[in-house]
Symmetry: C2
Subunit: 418 residues, 2 copies
């Protein structure tokens, strides 16, 4: 690391599984020390140890049904404080001057939305002063303070956001996100064994790969990185793998049409059948769902017969219980004929900024599924993504066939297949 390279300003973020025990923390301290000894300036961001946050949630659950947001945040923020103090004292003992910072001490100001606060401002002064004094700051992730000095948390996975926001505020050269995942793959390796690691992809591609992203990076953090042009390097804490660089538009010799494929199993399809066709039908339905916080994804509206419409859309499987009564109410209000709810579907997606202005990508995908005898129930596209709703029992096969059709299989396996 850094041999012969220019010294950089790096933000290094370590997730909960990377600091799960004292032994893990000692390992992470060694990793940080390597970067410091290579001449880099490092700002560390750390999560709570392993399942310590779950332990705190459990304690609160023993006492109250619906905890006060402010107090829950005051409680949960202590997990990260424990990690950063332990990490800083370990670095210090190893001869690396270090200092722990709570979110507040690190100058992170948040909104008052306890439990899912937004970062509103960062005063880079405290960390800059530490760096200038040759001290490695170790910052508690997932938290900041409101204007009144209350501790507020950024929601689960918020440590990624802390790291990327600090990298933006400090104009760091790179934000390294360390976790137990070795980066982003062309597909989830647990489903597609031929999946290969990606050395780089764009923010937009990463955002479209949300189902994979959830394991590697918090989506809000990627959006923030895109907005502030923070280069992310996602890699494994304990394996020496190259990892994945996420940046505005990676420079790649020949850009493939599809960079990676993704699968979301937790999708449900809802259909309102035989709804009279008059203006405002869709608006009434989708605003009813939106008012209850239910996010709608793919939508298909088709004229069936006698001026009656069928409207089909997908939602997250977890929202089905909440959506059912709303959809029933809409059916009555809109004088429709029937409702069908299928919570046994899945969404497969092909993502790649290389598909921009390249025709035939959708055709290749549909042909791959047709060849495999998999029925496409719904289709949705964005500029850099094509998604298909398929039966959940076909999902894994669908993903493998698309992965293969776009030449994403690992080299050795491609040879075998040919």
């Amino acid at each position: 690391m850094g041999k012969g390279l220019l010294p950089l300003l790096l933000v290094q973020k370590f997730g909960g599984s990377s600091v799960a025990t004292a032994h893990h923390i000692a390992e992470v301290a060694r990793k940080i020390q390597q970067a410091v000894e290579a001449g880099h300036q490092v700002v560390v961001v750390a999560s709570a140890m392993g399942d310590s946050t779950d332990h705190l949630v459990d304690l609160a659950g023993q006492l109250v049904a619906i905890p006060s947001g402010r107090e829950m945040d005051a409680l949960l923020s202590t997990g990260e404080l424990v990690t950063v103090a332990l990490l800083a004292m370990t670095l210090e003992q190893n001869g690396v001057p270090a200092r722990s910072f709570s979110g507040g001490q690190a100058g992170i100001k948040t909104s008052y939305d306890f439990g899912r606060a937004r970062i509103e401002a960062i005063d880079p002064g405290p960390l800059r002063r530490a760096l200038a004094a040759g001290i490695t700051p170790v910052v508690a992730g997932f938290q900041g303070v409101t204007d009144s000095g209350d501790v507020a948390t950024l929601g689960r996975g918020g440590s990624d956001l802390t790291a990327i926001a600090l990298a933006g505020a400090l104009k760091a050269d790179r934000c390294e996100i360390y976790s137990d995942v070795a980066g982003v793959y062309t597909a989830d390796p647990r489903i597609v064994p031929n999946a290969t690691p990606l050395s780089s992809l764009s923010y937009d591609e990463m955002l479209e790969l949300a189902s994979q992203g959830a394991q590697v990076l918090q989506t809000q953090a990627v959006e923030y990185a895109k907005g502030h042009q923070v280069v992310i390097h996602a890699r494994s804490t304990f394996l020496d793998e190259p990892g994945t660089q996420i940046e505005a538009e990676p420079v790649i010799a020949v850009k493939p049409a599809v960079t990676a494929v993704a699968l979301n199993r937790h999708v449900a399809k809802i259909g309102l059948l035989g709804v009279p066709d008059y203006p405002g039908v869709a608006a009434y339905l989708f605003s009813s769902l939106a008012n209850h916080g239910i996010n709608v994804e793919l939508v298909i509206q088709s004229l069936s017969h006698d001026k009656l419409n069928d409207i089909a859309f997908t939602i997250s499987e977890h929202d089905v219980p909440k959506a059912k009564p709303i959809v029933q109410e809409c059916l009555i209000h809109l004088k429709g004929q029937s409702v069908i709810i299928d919570d046994k579907v899945a969404k497969v997606s092909a993502v790649g900024s290389g598909m921009l202005g390249r025709p035939g990508v959708a055709a290749t995908l549909f042909q791959a599924l047709a060849d495999a005898g998999i029925n496409i129930q719904m289709i949705g596209t964005s500029e850099i993504k094509i998604s298909c709703i398929v039966d959940r029992s076909d999902a894994d096969r669908a993903l493998e066939h698309i992965h293969h059709a776009f030449g994403l299989d690992g080299t050795e396996d491609v040879i075998e297949d040919d």
Copy 2:
């Protein structure tokens, strides 16, 4: 509680064993609620849950030999933060508006002596504003922040000091210290079964009863209470006992000569024998010990023979390993003949502001020990205390005999004994 009484401003402090589990915290919340519903304003101070501080110390011990003081304090302060968040959310759920405060949020400014910081100033503003808004503040004990915003802890037992200092700053009517001990007794009930609870005693008496005090109240906290005239009420959290009031000079009809007796088993006696008698001998010896942070208690200097002195003194048993080389060095420097170290002694004390100007108290004590056949090795006195060093194997018997000689035995037992 408080029926028909004027509404008071109370500080209520709950120790670690009182908040050891979620169940305990729920009980403590009910206790606080009772006081609030009786019309009192209550400021709560809480310690870390049970042995959670030990768990944090253990984690640090797995990583570093000598942790940085700043980082150790950042680590240990999280224990109290957990308790106060849990307690505040429980109160809120029960309909008692409440808010948790870290030491810093509560306006507690400390010195930079990490691990044993002094409280340098308290801004009562934040807690006063909460009280004025009808909110019960729940303050993390044991901690404050330095001028630079670093978290610093007050040392073990420091939550007592937090409570008493807040009571002083807020001019509270009373500081209630709740623990698993039902107050102060005429002697440690585990040693003297006839010991009876004291309804009141003076700050000075409490300070002299340090060996008992350690279980009931941190000594520094009592000194602070004395300096700021804070009335302390030490009582049991879960037993409905009257407890002990500690104040300037309790009003008692007939003040007994001795209020209580105390035993300190952790004493060692050191003798330097045959030291030539010239000016500065004692100064050299005791400043050498003081420079190494060793506190000397009783001192006896006696002319033995041929202008040679014997100097004997007591120290805490825990300081013996540190004291040994220093005393050996002094022996050589002072040209003395030999050193004896006896770490098998104990100190028994009789304490009472009633002994002021009342002759014969010492005689009664010495006679009681003589009647029991117990040899007195050293004697030390203050205005309101008489202490004797005895063989540690005689200590319990010595305490019982003194307790009996001053008529402190519980009524029923006194009748039996007569």
